[in-house]
Assembly symmetry: C2
Homo-oligomer: 328 residues x 2
Amino acid sequence: MATIKDVAKKAGVSVATVSRAINGKGYVHEDTRKQIDEAIRELNYKPNEVARSLFNKKSRLIGLILPDIRNPFFPELARGVEDEMQEHGFRLIIGNADEKLEKELDYIETFKQNNVIGLISASTNEVLSHYDNLSFPLVLLDRTSVEHPSVYANGLDGGRLAAKELVSRGCKRISVLKGPVETQTARDRFKGAVDELYTANVHFDVMTTSFAFQEAEYWAKELFSKYPDTDGVIASNDVVAAAVLHEAHRLGKQIPEDLQIIGYDDIPFSQFLYPPLSTIRQPAYDMGREAAKLLIKLMDGKKVENKNILLPVQFIERQTTRKVERDD
Amino acid sequence: MATIKDVAKKAGVSVATVSRAINGKGYVHEDTRKQIDEAIRELNYKPNEVARSLFNKKSRLIGLILPDIRNPFFPELARGVEDEMQEHGFRLIIGNADEKLEKELDYIETFKQNNVIGLISASTNEVLSHYDNLSFPLVLLDRTSVEHPSVYANGLDGGRLAAKELVSRGCKRISVLKGPVETQTARDRFKGAVDELYTANVHFDVMTTSFAFQEAEYWAKELFSKYPDTDGVIASNDVVAAAVLHEAHRLGKQIPEDLQIIGYDDIPFSQFLYPPLSTIRQPAYDMGREAAKLLIKLMDGKKVENKNILLPVQFIERQTTRKVERDD
DNA sequence: TTGAAAGCGATACCAG
DNA sequence: CTGGTATCGCTTTCAA
């Protein structure tokens, strides 16, 4: 690997001049610049990011914390973040926290130690105190908080929407599946659903489930054993919805005649389920991109008027809900 | 952030001694060590990885290149790698190459510039020449090559198995869906299927498809428009299989009576499809872990006798294939 | 057993 | 417009 010294020697100038040329700071004579460019090309010189980082106390790395990389919702978020960052010349370190605080802290430490210049976290941990004294800006993703900038989707609407669509399609005994997390958005989501159900005066039961594949099947069985008469399920996410759908088939239920199901997230797979899953869509990719944009503004020290960006959710009608509205 | 200097001052020793104490190299008096430990604790000192990295030309970072983070197979691989690396105190930088050479090169550059000490690549790019002059060890994952160490699954068996199971279940007009990539494992897979089909003297058609969600649906439609009479599909992966299954439903086909489908990979979602997807399982998580183990050995400079680790695949019988074998 | 000092590769101040 | 040099935080001789 060629160093700046090699370039300086080859170009017959000092390292200081090379540095100025590379960074476009300070004066460099046109002719000198050419010599330097030439030398750089010949040596295939690339500045050493580590040395830069040591001096500047800044890398070009961005940290991204995901709760569970196996849940397709999060890679989608990640892609949004990545695409935006890529366009600005930043690189991503993805940390999979596995919904464990310890791993999350580990990654934060790694990020600090590698001089990341910004952090986006979709952590599902209830407490956020470990984000308090960071030396770089932070954006929360898929969650919100008054203390930190954030990009999230409208959970209240989401919950409400899910409930409304089910009620308007004639469900009488609805099961609300709650995720395991206690973030504001999760609470909103739950509140939205419950509020709507109260208002509509429809009977409902609540069950708390995991979000993960490994346990989704267990919860689906549990659901039908506890509430065998349920005729409408508001799932905690699409993964759980898929498991519920699967279990419903196993039990010989007709979907959507006997049972209607609404998922949450709209991951790519949901369209391929049978019947295709009706769900509340969170604009994951856009959320990621927005979070990246916000973080970039913050890193640039720009004034940001709106630090908490709320994105809309949307009911995606497919075929786990009945086609025609009716009031029975 | 406290530096080694602060620790030295607080402990009343020189930075050299602190360094020795931290790294357990050279002599440090027991009492001095205690002082230092004490100071470290009080100051909550963490060595600056960047400075270390600059000096050593080595970080504790491992690069991981994934072709497409949205395809659930790859997060699964990533988890295997991550878990093993985590246990050894290494950290992962995940780069999503998006099946584009340019992005892949970009990440490799980032990895070099950040002094990664090892690289695992699941790249699907046909050429590998950009991996030739690396200053750190490389392990190929989910592909193989004579020049580089690798961990991969048995494609020949996989293809053969898929074909055999379909043939033995009475398929007469099989469609073989080929992935878009030209890696050895992909070729093996295809060859395995075709060989078996030839041997069994069963009619088959071949179609090349993408692996991605976005295009899977298109290919599924294409498949049935080109080969409406097909009664058995060997899909390029589970994502494509899901799309085929979906399209088959749309066309009113009975699965597995009219049409049998075998996927590839066995991603977590496949069990929730309807009917649950029969597929060839690649042990993704284990593959990731093995790759990590192999890389660690390589980084340690250990002699590795077997540089190309082949893992077995397995037919997972679910319900897109018929239950009973029959010969018609 | 310890510490002074050189150096990893780059940046930026300050003189010239 | 250019170059010498201190500096970033840490590791590692080498001498004491």
